[in-house]
């Protein structure tokens, strides 16, 4: 038997590795611009699948369905919100509302939509190519030759072979019709005739002007005639711009390298007044009279290695200084109402702090949550968007916060 061993050896020993590579990807379906415009209307309500930014205006909630359009939710009774309509807007990511006009992007284009009757909206103005940086569609040109990506078809494919990374790489770099979504900031948006959006917004309205940020610019739109926005000045910023938050006569712009403060005393021409630099990370920002609150988090798009809340003293805007940092898990959007500070801390849920003393913020309540990423506070109600739904909590009694309702994400 022992003699047989060497003979057996070569046949009996083998290291083998087999690789199965499966890819699910999407190919774009193009429609003509006229066809897309004709489809921009109120349609039957749809199930929320991939929620983006939220915007609150009177009794209505406008919830972006990433890259698809906008859900209109009648929130007259926060305990029983009703999804009443859906507006088809391909490539939509950001929203803002003034009066009865809803502003929304359609890839690189800007729409002004009359929402006087949310169930019968009317497209008032369509402006081409005001956001050129958004003329993409997950790797494919979003608007090209008069056509717009209006839908996507899901494709699945798989390859099997010996373990060789080239299977993967070949498919990635062979020019196959495989489109990867350009990374985007996580969802979310920004308040009387103007509504209220979240801290993750890239559109923000202050009186007769709408300010939008791209990854490296601040654009001004004059909306004194709401249904007819007029593009104004453009301010070049550093790369990595993520969010915009208005407070008083200032805009607080969050970027992945710091917070920039712009004075809008002259609303047509924002003027840089100060900045606060931090390590590279994603950073939504909010502010009040005296302090700015910046959440820093790590992430694929943001790099960085820290997760924390920075409280920044604003008594001298030209010399904004860090007051104190508080460790967090993966902080995203945030909101402040009086002394209460709400922070969406990713998978750690929503944390509510007593921020009466900025240098000694104390945790009051921790709501277990499934991946929360933005929050809006209004009328003692916290509207929280997470991966699994849109939640509304009453915090009339901060020590007894109650869930009022949830709109499921399917």
């Amino acid at each position: 038997m022992l003699i047989a061993l060497p003979i057996c050896f070569s046949a009996c020993v083998k290291d083998e590795c087999k690789q199965k590579y499966t890819l699910t990807y999407y190919v774009p379906v193009y429609l003509t611009k006229d066809e897309v415009k004709a489809n921009i209307k109120s349609t039957a309500p749809r199930q929320v699948k991939n929620p983006g930014k939220i915007y609150l205006r009177d009794q209505y909630l406008f919830l972006n369905e990433v890259d698809r359009g906008i859900h209109i939710i009648d929130n007259s009774n926060p305990s029983h919100p009703k999804n009443i309509a859906f507006i088809n807007i391909p490539g939509n990511m950001d929203i803002a509302v003034k009066g009865n006009i809803l502003y929304a992007d359609l890839y690189s284009d800007l729409l002004a939509i009359d929402i006087s009757n949310p169930q019968q909206i009317k497209l008032k103005t369509y402006i081409d190519n005001v956001f050129p940086y958004r003329n993409y569609g997950a790797g494919a040109p979003a608007i090209t030759g008069g056509k717009i990506i209006a839908d996507w078809i899901k494709k699945d494919t798989s390859y099997t072979g010996s373990c060789d990374r080239r299977i993967l790489e070949d498919r990635f770099f062979s020019g196959s019709p495989i489109f990867f979504a350009a990374s985007s900031s996580s969802p979310l948006s920004s308040i009387s005739p103007i509504g209220v959006g979240g801290s993750m917004a890239r559109f923000s309205i202050v009186n007769d002007h709408m300010y939008t940020v791209s990854s490296n610019t601040l654009d001004v739109f004059n909306i004194s005639t709401p249904e007819n926005p007029v593009k104004g000045s453009k301010v070049n910023l550093n790369w990595g711009i993520e969010t915009i938050y208005p407070f008083g006569k200032n805009l607080f712009i969050g970027s992945n390298t710091g917070m920039f403060i712009y004075d809008i005393s002259n609303p047509e021409v924002p003027k840089s007044v100060g900045q606060f630099s931090h390590v590279r990370s994603c950073d939504p920002v909010i502010a009040d009279n005296d302090y700015a609150y910046v959440t820093l988090r790590t992430g694929t798009q943001c790099n960085g290695s820290i997760n924390q809340l920075d409280v920044i003293r604003l008594n001298n805007l030209t010399d904004a200084r860090l007051l104190k940092s508080y460790p967090m898990s993966s902080p995203h959007g945030l909101a402040k109402d009086g002394d209460l500070l709400f922070i969406c801390d990713g998978k750690s849920g929503v944390k509510i702090y007593n921020a009466a003393f900025e240098d000694n913020i104390k945790l009051l309540k921790h709501i277990e949550f499934f991946d929360a990423y933005d929050v809006i506070t209004y009328n003692k109600i916290a509207l929280i968007i997470g991966k699994d739904g849109l939640y509304q909590y009453s915090y009339a009694n901060p020590f007894n916060i109650k869930l009022l309702s949830k709109i499921e994400v399917k």
Binding site: M1, L2, L5, C8, F9, C12, V13, K14, D15, E16, C17, K18, Q19, K20, Y21, T22, L23, T24, Y25, Y26, K49, N50, V66, D67, R68, M93, G137, A138, D151, W152, K154, C163, L168, I178, F179, F180, A181, A182, S183, S184, S186, P187, G299, T300
Partner: protein, 180 residues
Amino acid sequence: MFLPLFCLGQPKGKGKAGFHSIIGGGAMIGESKTKAFFQYSGGLEYDRYFTGIGVGYDAYRLNTIPVFADWRMNFGPHRVLFVYANVGASFAANIQKEEKTDYSRGFSRGGLYTDGGFGYRLPLGHSQRLSLSVGHSFKSITNVHEFSYGSVLPGRTTSTNAYRYNYSRIVVKTGWEFGK
């Protein structure tokens, strides 16, 4: 798992089933490496048969924990020769190894584990034996890496790479048997 150890020294009548333990270890000789392993089996021995369950640690290429059913038959003069067969599953040794981010997930899936061969048992007295065996072992385990890209699509683009590793090895094993 180690309950059988406490059964040592319990008197058993001839022809009755008795608890039996085997602690073994040795080398896995494969195509590219030779690696150590160890294992423990506990079960019942009746007449010339042993049937039990075992667990071990197999460091060949990928660290795995085999969990298996162990069967063996003793034969020959004084039943000093034996054949054995183990069949079960291999699992990743570090179950904390699963890695997850917003965009990727990596984890391992268990696979088949077999070991079969023959050997010789040297009596040591006091119902103890030293065994020496040679056999063939196979283990399979799958590492899966899932990636997803972006969030602006109706659904994310996802890719999954599943690497299935199959390892066939010669096993040279020594064991300490006790319990009957």
